[in-house]
């Protein structure tokens, strides 16, 4: 399944689940990410935080080859994305698709297996069972044949996560999975992510809520177009770092008493 590294592409920094080096990404002429260097070790639950427009989503999209970088490269356990596709799971922002698409929750989860199925092959019994199992893991087994248009926002988010779970990946990227879901769903999602981490997988989450960073995550990357700080949450989550990333907005954060 996994392609062996060829002499043309020797392993590069294989000790990191995610290694980003010199990455620059731009929309039109304006760079949205500038000279990014990030290393995330395996088996951590990592948050990427930063103010609006800091380039959090573009960072994930560039890492997964959805945005062409102007410069730099990204490695997963030392390998390029195209050689690691089957071992990487992706949960895009929920608002990135039209949920009025005619499909059931089961249909959407099964889409996570399309890449593995290969050309022309249709999903069959095995794929259906795998998709149902993934739906159970997010507590959505009773909604398998429900239209996705009829699901609540939190349920849609869980369907999206189930679609990534079915990929049985080693590294997961989630783009704002906790945005616009209720507290119960958020707790369920966090428990699931911790579960993945405890199985030795690496989970990278674009996160917007600073108040929960220390509770949910053990690794933190703060960006604002450039990397502001990265490392274990306990070391990185400091008032100084947050002030450097968020600038004027920091008064708000301090008023919320979330900075030690």
């Amino acid at each position: 399944m996994m392609q062996p590294s060829t002499p043309d592409h020797p392993l590069h920094e294989p000790q990191f689940a995610l290694h980003v080096e010199d990455l620059t990404v731009s929309y039109r002429a304006d760079p949205v990410l500038w000279d990014i260097d990030i290393d995330i070790p395996p088996g951590v639950l990592a948050a990427i935080v930063g103010p609006n427009g800091a380039g959090k989503s573009p960072l994930i999209k560039a890492a997964l080859g959805l945005l062409p970088p102007v410069a730099g490269h990204v490695r997963f356990f030392g390998r390029r994305y195209r050689d690691m596709r089957r071992r990487i799971g992706y949960v895009p922002q929920r608002q990135s698709v039209d949920w009025d698409f005619p499909a059931t929750a089961l249909d959407v989860v099964t889409m996570g297996l399309y890449g593995r199925l290969g050309w022309f092959r249709r999903p069959g019994r095995a794929e259906r069972d795998a998709a149902l199992a993934a739906l159970s893991r997010v507590g959505m087994q009773d909604y398998a044949i429900r239209q996705i248009a009829d699901l609540s926002g939190g349920q849609q988010q869980r369907v999206f996560i189930a679609r990534a779970l079915v990929q049985e990946a080693d590294i997961y990227f989630l783009d704002e999975p906790m945005a616009g879901v209720d507290a119960v769903t958020e707790a369920a999602i966090v428990a699931l992510l911790e579960d993945l981490r405890d199985q030795g997988r690496t989970v990278v989450v674009v996160h917007h809520d600073l108040t929960t960073v220390r509770r949910y995550f053990d690794w933190l990357v703060i960006i604002n177009r450039r990397v502001v700080a990265q490392g274990p949450v306990a070391d990185v989550y400091t008032a100084a770092n947050l002030r450097r990333a968020y600038g004027g907005q920091i008064a708000l954060i301090e008023a919320g008493e979330i900075v030690p």
Binding site: F101, A103, L117
Partner: protein, 380 residues
């Protein structure tokens, strides 16, 4: 019925009917992908852009040779679609402006070429202006082979790449992350849609083609629960519209097929928007009315509950006139409904002669649930 079978006995009408059904089915099925990818208007641009291609095909072939016309239409239509993409990528114009520009420029060139050809006179140009509004009657038996072949080829591509096109239409980013060549698949899908448009031009013409593409798909979306059933239904709606239009125009003099086909298709859309379960307007209205009735019922229950509380007797009987005073004269109907639901019962305690209303345990539970801020409705 005998009228219809009589019509179908004629070879000319057979040609038209079969052709119209194939074109309708093909456009309907592929229209689903255009609709779901929000590219309905791209279909409009492609069909208008096809006109200059048809004229050039005519000039090159020196006559109304369907393969040449379709090849020209496909080339020009494809060029139109490409121009839209190019404008979107290279300039700051938005989609609507890009579509408007491409559509009108290509169409203008087409009309210029068309009038030039017609100015030359002769019988040869007869079949050409029919591409403006379509003329199914001009479909010949030999044309059916071309139309059928192209339709089958387009549908076969969709069947083969079903799951790829499905994922592409729902979530292109995820498709790309899974390693699908999204850009190439998008080009292929657009090309296949362009084929459906180009063959459909014969039936309804460049001006109305977008309706044949979008209407069956929009109607099918109202009823379908999956992409497969949506595509099949849209094909069925398209074929039905085609057949109905062909028969109607064959049966009545002076009715041109294309517009009639489009009118049938839009009638199906109207019925679907109105009546489809869960998504239809009628369904919405019924759901709203039922919610309103339930709310009125809950209000009355809460009133009865409040009166009971004030008298330290949860089942305190309340006079109907008092409920009317609190909730208006319609409350008699509401009370009757609540009674049939087992929420209240009518009691007459001597010496009173008129019935009074008291809460049942069920009604009390619902009133208390409402007071706790829970509407008592199951959440979806």
């Amino acid at each position: 019925m005998t009228w219809a079978t009589g019509l179908l006995g004629s070879h000319a009408v057979q040609n038209v009917a079969i052709g119209a059904m194939m074109l309708g089915a093909c456009a309907g099925a592929l229209g689903c992908f255009a609709l779901l990818r929000r590219q309905s208007l791209l279909g409009d641009a492609v069909s208008h852009a096809a006109l200059p291609g048809i004229c050039l095909g005519f000039l090159v072939a020196g006559g109304r040779e369907l393969p040449a016309l379709l090849a020209g239409a496909l080339l020009a239509g494809g060029l139109g679609a490409l121009s839209v993409q190019l404008i979107l990528r290279r300039t700051r114009l938005k989609t609507d402006a890009a579509l408007g520009i491409v559509l009108s420029v290509f169409f203008a060139v087409g009309v210029v070429l068309l009038t030039h050809i017609q100015g030359r006179g002769g019988a040869a140009q007869a079949g050409l202006s029919s591409f403006l509004f379509g003329q199914a009657a001009a479909i010949l038996r030999g044309d059916l082979v071309v139309i059928g072949g192209l339709s089958v080829a387009a549908l076969a591509v969709v069947a083969l790449l079903w799951k790829e096109f499905k994922l592409l239409s729902f979530d292109p980013d995820f498709a790309r992350a899974q390693g699908l060549p999204v850009a190439r698949l998008e080009v292929l899908l657009t090309l296949v849609i362009a084929v459906a448009i180009v063959v459909g031009l014969q039936l309804v013409g460049v001006v109305l083609m977008v309706a044949l593409l979008v209407a069956p798909a929009a109607a099918a979306r109202q009823w379908a629960r999956g992409l497969g059933s949506m595509v099949l239904l849209a094909a069925l709606f398209g074929a039905t519209s085609g057949l109905a239009g062909a028969l109607a125009s064959a049966g009545m003099r002076g009715l041109s097929t294309g517009p009639v086909v489009v009118l049938f298709a839009t009638a199906i859309v109207a019925v679907s928007l109105l009546l489809a379960p869960r998504r239809g307007l009628l369904w919405d209205a019924l759901r709203r009315a039922s919610a309103r009735r339930r709310l009125a019922g809950t209000d009355v229950l809460v009133t009865l509950h409040g009166v009971g509380q004030a008298h330290d007797d949860p089942a305190y009987p309340v006079e109907g006139g008092m409920v009317d005073a609190a909730h208006g004269l319609a409350s008699a109907r509401t009370l009757a409904r609540l009674r049939s639901e087992g929420m209240v019962r009518a009691v007459t305690r001597p010496p009173e002669t008129r019935a009074h209303w008291e809460l049942t345990p069920l009604g009390r539970a619902r009133a208390e649930a409402a007071l706790r801020g829970n509407s008592g409705e199951e959440t979806a």
